[in-house]
């Protein structure tokens, strides 16, 4: 195949059932260019790229490479044409080495010792683009940033001229993001083209030359990044003005609600995931735990909410020791929990909206009599949550899986707040949500803080952490690198702490 000089997608339309995922979308990218593809979740970015990569068939429209019409019916076709894609979730085999992963599915790998052949090429690409990876390391030994580099090299080794990156920075620290950007710039300089999918405006502005904005499946705008600012891009993306800074009024720290001391928690593979963590959360406060995921945050939260047993240390809520109490007891003592991966943990997809509205609370006196559930009051409760939290849903008799991510999250948040907790544990509450829903959920959290709630927030989104939290703890390899009042913290310091290269002054204020 000749190298991709110009790739055009014209009048691309795709519908799922009755939803229009893409409607008459035009996209054009040239060699040596980094094109931003911006849009909210559900705007059709991933659909468009999945069409280009042959993962889903197109309804209408044409794809041309160097002016010639092409058919892409499978990823194999896409790869043969020089298109590569790095998915948001990596497709790597954990127990294999980097070279073995790359050799897998490579058509021109020799039959005997393919990984040795591949290792040479990995090193060659590494030198050319500054992609530092050791082909002999096993995937599970690598950080998320390194695994992403493996995915990029995998695509390059397969001969990709055009690289599609789907939300590539969502798993990276700020420093790793910078390294990724440096790699992308070098690739562009060598004549590769890159389509960079994101909903983060700063990133689009800093890495892309041009940007294509999608909204509800249609092109909402296109621009040269040097001519636009964040505000304008946001307007194109959402269709209305967005307030970037939410007001977080200063509040005096209230009484202590949660006291976690020297907590040690095992992980899934019996490794130690949390290594002696201590912190306190107070009323009228949002306490944030920042960090790249996989550094023990999940295990920490599970230990606090009764889903995982700690081997050492104590968890005290309002003076009562709840260390290793069951999830049911913990909930009844007043801890509610907005879990990460909302669809996997927070709801039962096939049950109706009203049935999901009382998950974990179905034993409350209000909803049950002796053995039986009181469906009358359950339905009333569900309707109340829907109204109060702006959940958009046709009726409460719909299976909850038919709701969008944002609406599911609003329902979960509403459910968890409606139990009048003393502590709300929220894990990645806005992950993957669109700007509108994100704004709404953040405002709700701040409002509850003003009403006296204590919030323990875990998030990878530093902007969110800085916007919402009164104090920030950074977690790295199972330890808190330090706890900083937000007013004294800088993005750079927190970023370095996330990477484990700066141990915070460990200023434990207010304790």
């Amino acid at each position: 195949m000749p190298k991709i000089e110009v790739l055009e997608m014209s009048n691309i339309s795709k519908s799922f059932h009755t939803t229009r995922a893409n409607h008459r979308v035009n996209l054009r990218i040239q060699a040596g260019e980094i094109l931003g593809l911006l849009g909210e979740n559900g705007a059709g970015k991933t659909t468009l790229m999945n069409i280009l990569y042959g993962l889903i068939p197109v309804d209408e429209g044409e794809i041309r490479i160097n002016g010639q019409s092409v058919r892409i019916e499978s990823p194999r076709d896409a790869i043969d044409l020089g298109i590569g894609m790095v998915h948001q979730h990596f497709m790597l085999i954990q127990n294999h080495t980097v070279a073995e992963n790359i050799a897998l599915g490579l058509s021109d790998a020799p039959f005997l010792s393919p990984s040795r052949h591949v290792a040479r090429r990995v090193e060659e690409f590494g030198r050319r683009f500054g992609l530092k990876i050791n082909p002999r390391e096993r995937i599970w030994q690598l950080s998320a940033g390194e695994q992403q580099r493996v995915e990029i090299v995998k695509a390059l080794v397969k001969g990709a001229d055009l690289l599609i990156l789907d939300e590539p920075t969502s798993v990276l620290t700020p420093q790793e993001t910078e390294e990724l950007f440096a790699i992308l710039r070098r690739m562009a300089a060598e004549g590769h083209s890159v389509i960079f999918i994101s909903h983060k405006l700063e990133e689009i502005l800093s890495i892309c030359r041009r940007v294509l904005v999608l909204r509800k499946g249609e092109v909402a705008g296109r621009a040269e990044t040097k001519n636009v600012d964040k505000r304008e891009l946001a307007r194109m993306m959402v269709g209305r003005e967005i307030i970037f800074r939410i007001e977080r009024p200063h509040l005096e720290q209230g009484e202590m609600v949660l006291d976690v001391k020297d907590l040690v928690v095992p992980g899934d593979r019996r490794q130690i995931a949390v290594r002696g963590v201590r912190f306190r959360v107070f009323r009228n406060e949002i306490f944030g735990i920042a960090g790249v995921s996989g550094n023990g945050q999940r295990e920490l939260i599970e230990a606090v909410t009764g889903l995982r047993k700690a081997t050492e240390g104590t968890v005290v809520l309002n003076g009562q020791n709840i260390t290793n109490a069951s999830a049911r007891v913990v909930a009844s003592r007043g801890i509610s929990h907005v879990p990460e991966e909302r669809i996997k943990f927070g709801i039962v997809p096939n049950l109706f909206v009203y049935e999901n509205a009382v998950l974990k609370q179905h034993r409350r006196r209000l909803f049950s009599r002796v053995l039986f559930l009181n469906y009358g009051s359950i339905r009333k409760h569900a309707s109340a949550i829907i109204e109060q939290f702006n959940v958009s849903v046709p009726t409460i008799d719909t299976p909850i899986k038919n709701l969008s991510g944002g609406n599911i999250q609003k329902l979960i948040l509403g459910r968890e707040i409606s139990s009048r907790p003393v502590l709300l544990v929220a894990a990645h509450p806005t992950y993957g949500l669109d700007v509108g829903a994100t704004e709404y959920i953040r405002k709700q959290l701040l409002q509850k803080r003003e009403q006296g709630l204590a919030v323990l927030l875990v998030s990878e989104d530093l902007e969110e952490i800085f916007e919402l939290c009164d104090r920030i703890a950074v977690m790295y390899e199972g330890r808190l690198m330090g706890i900083l009042p937000t007013a004294e913290a800088t993005m750079e310091d927190v970023g370095l702490m996330m990477a484990g290269s700066l141990s915070g002054a460990a200023v434990e204020t207010g304790q």
Binding site: A327, R328, H337, L351, L359, L371
Partner: protein, 361 residues
């Protein structure tokens, strides 16, 4: 030109569609069964007609069908529960046998001394207990040691069958049975009354119908029913909601095993009046009930209808075995094929089929 056929997940499936798929799956299943008859050199329409005539075509046929539906209703309703929680109990056969063993012990030892109004309830209680204990074992194996319930329930079928055989050729062998491997006949007080002229032991039938109603309300209106649906649909969410997986599983298997045990009471005290070879006592009700529960879409009330349907096939199957000289296994082939088609039908409920024509470049 090439034509591509793809499955796309469906958002919602209407009740009409579900019913249509059900009917079409059954029809397709019958066509496949028909092919089996053709291979055997029998006109499939004739065979089907014979089956229908055998099971529903006469008063005798209907009464036999109801008789065979009794154990299927009991076991089937119990299975709807555990299947909803995604616990694959395929050991109902042995839970039935254990129920029969426990009830027989009560009947033989107390039947001569106590009045019928006391012995019969005690036998049902003992039967429930026997099935429940046998159902409890795989539940505990699963939650304590992570043993796959398909393996453990299946294997326990053999254990129970061998145990029963051991009893009837050994310690429980009846003195009055002239050397046959039977226990002594149950005393009159321990024998279930029949509707005259039939083999319908109506007490068990009433118990079965009551079970279907009670379990229906258990699934749809109680806290426990809610929890078992959460466990079945999303175990991770159940854990998050503080639902005790161990307790739920154990309770479910006690119920499921227990009602299968009740079926064992009916078969022994209502039909055979003594314990004998496992294949005679049950003859596969525990397996047929799996299809019964599936056809009922795991709804305990609908089990009544699907149990009658499959009981009809069993009775009609016996009829063609005699009149057309087909092997006894025909009915099992029949049932197995229908189950396959019912399960395949679900694909069309959950997905839509998209056929598109594409021109290759």
């Amino acid at each position: 030109m090439s034509i591509s056929i793809r499955l796309q997940p469906r958002q919602e499936a209407s009740a009409a569609l579900q019913l249509a798929v059900l009917v079409l799956s059954l029809l397709a299943g019958f066509v496949a069964v028909g092919l089996v008859f053709v291979v055997k050199g029998v006109n499939p329409f004739f065979a089907l007609w014979k089956i229908l005539a055998g099971s529903f075509g006469s008063l005798y046929g209907i009464s036999e069908t109801v008789t065979k539906a009794i154990p299927l209703i009991l076991i089937g309703t119990g299975l709807t529960l555990v299947f909803r929680a995604k616990f694959w109990n395929i050991g109902a056969e042995s839970q039935l046998l254990m129920g029969a063993i426990f009830a027989t012990w009560v009947g033989l030892n107390l039947g001569a001394r106590l009045p019928a109004w006391l012995v019969v309830p005690l036998m049902f209680l003992a039967g429930f207990l026997g099935g429940a204990v046998w159902g409890l074992l795989p539940a505990l194996f699963k939650v304590r040691f992570g043993v796959n319930e398909v393996i453990s329930t299946l294997m326990l079928n053999y254990v129970a069958a061998e145990f029963l055989t051991l009893l009837i050729v050994g310690p429980w062998k009846g003195a009055t049975q002239q050397g046959f491997p039977y226990t002594d006949d149950l005393p009159a007080a321990a024998v279930l009354p029949l509707i005259p002229g039939t083999r319908i032991h109506y007490l068990t039938l009433l118990v079965a119908l009551a079970c279907a109603v009670v379990l229906f309300f258990l699934v749809y209106s109680t806290k426990f029913g809610y929890e078992l649906r959460v466990v079945g649909e999303n175990p991770e969410a159940a854990r998050y909601a503080g639902i005790d997986f161990l307790r739920t599983t154990v309770v479910l298997m006690v119920i499921s095993g227990g009602v299968a045990g009740l079926a064992g009471v009916g078969e022994t005290a209502g039909i055979h009046h003594h314990l004998t070879y496992p294949a005679v006592i049950s003859g596969g009700y525990g397996f047929t009930a799996i299809i019964v529960a599936w056809l009922a879409k795991l709804n305990p009330l609908a089990v009544i209808i699907s149990a009658l349907f499959f009981a009809g096939i069993l009775v009609g199957g016996d009829a063609i075995q005699i009149s057309l000289g087909l092997p006894a296994a025909t009915v099992h082939v029949f049932n197995g094929i229908l189950l396959f088609f019912l399960i395949m039908g679900d694909t069309f409920v959950h997905n839509r089929i998209v056929v598109s024509r594409q021109r290759r470049a």
